[in-house]
Symmetry: C2
Subunit: 205 residues, 2 copies
């Protein structure tokens, strides 16, 4: 128990386990300390408040979502295939999480809800990845966009129903896969065609 020294990492590992078992509402700092075999005062040496501990747990959870996506963003295959795969991987990861363990997903969702700053950073990271893919697509001559950053944000926004936890209730419904495909195909179509960002050249007449 007291063999290893008490690090932030170790606290986070344990906190995650306790959170997983008890849910967010019933987890206290004292619980986490007890699970570690230390006094709760020690935890405040590593995290100034309980909320900051929650934020850190949320950040790790979000990182586990973002990491596999980063790989896709940094490959150098055809951008359109990577974009589709990136979006599907994101949606699929989220979907699996809810369907596998709704309880735990709800815990993390609540956690993330409160950790506004952490989520903002996460979204920035994801849109940066999208920007990279779209920029690659432009370099490859597959996409034609005025602003890759704006287009990336647009892609992220347009797919919000398939990755934002607020819509998780619908992810189990029968039609979602088809809905997802429609939206992704629209996105591909838009990026491949004229400017995906408010340039002067309006599509259609």
């Amino acid at each position: 128990m007291s063999s290893e020294s008490l690090t932030s990492e170790r606290i986070l590992d344990t906190a995650e386990g306790v959170l997983r078992r008890h849910g967010i509402a019933k987890t206290t700092v004292v619980d986490v300390a007890r699970a570690l075999g230390v006094s709760h005062g020690s935890i405040y040496r590593h995290f100034p408040t309980k909320v900051s501990l929650h934020d850190a747990v949320a950040a790790r959870w979000l990182a586990r979502v973002a990491d596999p996506l980063a790989d896709i963003a940094h490959e150098d295959g055809p951008a359109d295939e990577r974009l589709r795969r990136w979006l599907r991987t994101l949606a699929e990861a989220k979907r699996r999480k809810v369907l596998d363990d709704p309880e735990l997903f709800h815990t993390y969702h609540t956690l993330a809800e409160q950790a506004r700053g952490v989520v903002d950073e996460h979204v920035r990271e994801l849109t940066d990845q999208l920007t990279r893919i779209i920029r690659d697509g432009a370099a490859q001559g597959r996409y034609r966009v005025a602003s890759p950053e704006a287009a990336a944000r647009g892609v992220f926004d347009a797919t919000v129903r398939f990755h934002h936890p607020a819509h998780s209730r619908e992810w189990g419904h029968p039609g979602v896969d088809a809905d997802f495909d429609v939206v992704v195909t629209m996105i591909q179509s838009a990026l491949a065609a004229s400017g995906a960002e408010g340039g002067e050249r309006e599509s259609g007449v």
Copy 2:
């Protein structure tokens, strides 16, 4: 007070007012009855449960959103202009509601949250309107889509961040207008170009 006879309409009008003033949590059937100057038993003559009363209020609220949109859907101008205006009207209506009276908006959101069936019907109505516009666009030769229904659903989904209450917190942020324009432009672009629905003809490659 007791001059008019007690109709469902009159109950709904009053319920809406009480809800507006007290919020959903603090509004009881007794409150509504008191505001009407009748006994609460009378209300159960028109609505079987408190929930059904809530549903009816939610339905009226949603109808007030859908009605102006129906006008746009039934015009016969150029579809792309109507689509853009339809989407902006929807987003703008929602946005005004939150910014004007967040308290009241929250009340209605909670109401709608619970009135699942009512919301489903509302969404069906809206996507039907979109289908009509897109079908018109196809007839006008402006849009090329394999399935107007699927495309309509795609358009609705892709703009979810701008009209779904779960995202209302962001509607006050500075960048949203630009974000909205990007997404709408992408949509126009996709509809104007190749099939907006999973046909065999993939965009790109």
